[in-house]
């Protein structure tokens, strides 16, 4: 299945891209397993999204948790803790 992924702020800079389409086997997963698959690619993905990094995630523009489901066609964004206001 195909997932649209977006990166913001420090994560966009660390990844070197603002977003990408990512192919996953199967028809459903969750935020945690999607992140693990991205990290498993190594390189910038492992640096930006690896364990110990403060990363927030949204699915279809709602804040998500590790166990939030992700399905084909979803928009998943990874970003640092927010600092507006």
């Amino acid at each position: 299945m195909s997932i649209r992924i977006l990166y913001f702020a420090r994560l966009r800079e660390d990844m070197g891209i603002a977003g990408e389409m990512f192919e996953l086997p199967g028809e459903a997963c969750d935020v945690n397993s999607l992140r693990a698959r991205l990290v498993a690619r190594g390189g910038a993905s492992a640096t930006a999204l690896g364990q110990g990094k403060a990363v927030r995630v949204s699915v279809n523009q709602d804040l998500a948790r590790d166990d939030t489901p992700v399905k084909a066609g979803d928009e998943v964004a990874f970003f640092p803790p927010v600092t507006g206001g």
Binding site: L6, R10, S58, Q61, F79, P81, T83, G84, G85
Partner: protein, 154 residues
């Protein structure tokens, strides 16, 4: 309810006048204005860039305002947040809450800012003499938002 994310500055007087719409049921208006300072974490700040997540940011702000309207007896709330390049002295954010009485208006205004700080997707990158740096999220902001997790008296 009104939520705006914009590059342009805003005129506080004009925004409040337009938002109260000569409604004689409004007896109190509470407002908060956030500004760019020239120092942070001990370093002089020459300017900052505010990034957001178009679509999600507006959705998050609308959700925060809806939550405030559910918790307190207020008439309405307005949030304007700027993005792009900002300098010290510039206005960043405006929150205006209208209500019959001040108590709910004050509380809702503070609640909206505390939740905006911790849940709305905005990120600040500061320019300092030591180079550009992303602003780190503050534990104090999380603690401020936590205060509202207990049900509030209307």
């Amino acid at each position: 309810m009104a939520v705006r994310v914009q590059r342009e500055d805003f005129d506080i007087g004009a925004e409040i006048a337009a938002f109260r719409r000569a409604d004689p049921g409004i007896g109190a208006i509470a407002s908060f204005i956030g500004l760019v300072r020239d120092v942070n974490e001990g370093n002089a700040v020459a300017g900052m860039t505010l990034e957001h997540y178009p679509g999600m940011t507006e959705k998050a702000l609308a959700g925060i305002v809806a939550e405030a309207k559910g918790r307190w007896d207020i008439v309405d709330a307005l949030v304007i947040h700027r993005v792009g390049e900002l300098k010290p002295l510039d206005q960043i954010v405006l929150v205006v809450v209208t209500g019959a009485h001040r108590g709910a208006a004050f509380a809702a205004c503070e609640f909206i800012m505390d939740y905006l700080k911790t849940q709305a997707p905005f990120w600040k990158k500061e320019q300092t003499a030591q180079g550009a740096r992303w602003v780190e999220a503050r534990v104090a902001d999380d603690q401020a938002a936590e205060r509202w997790s207990e049900p509030q008296v209307k």
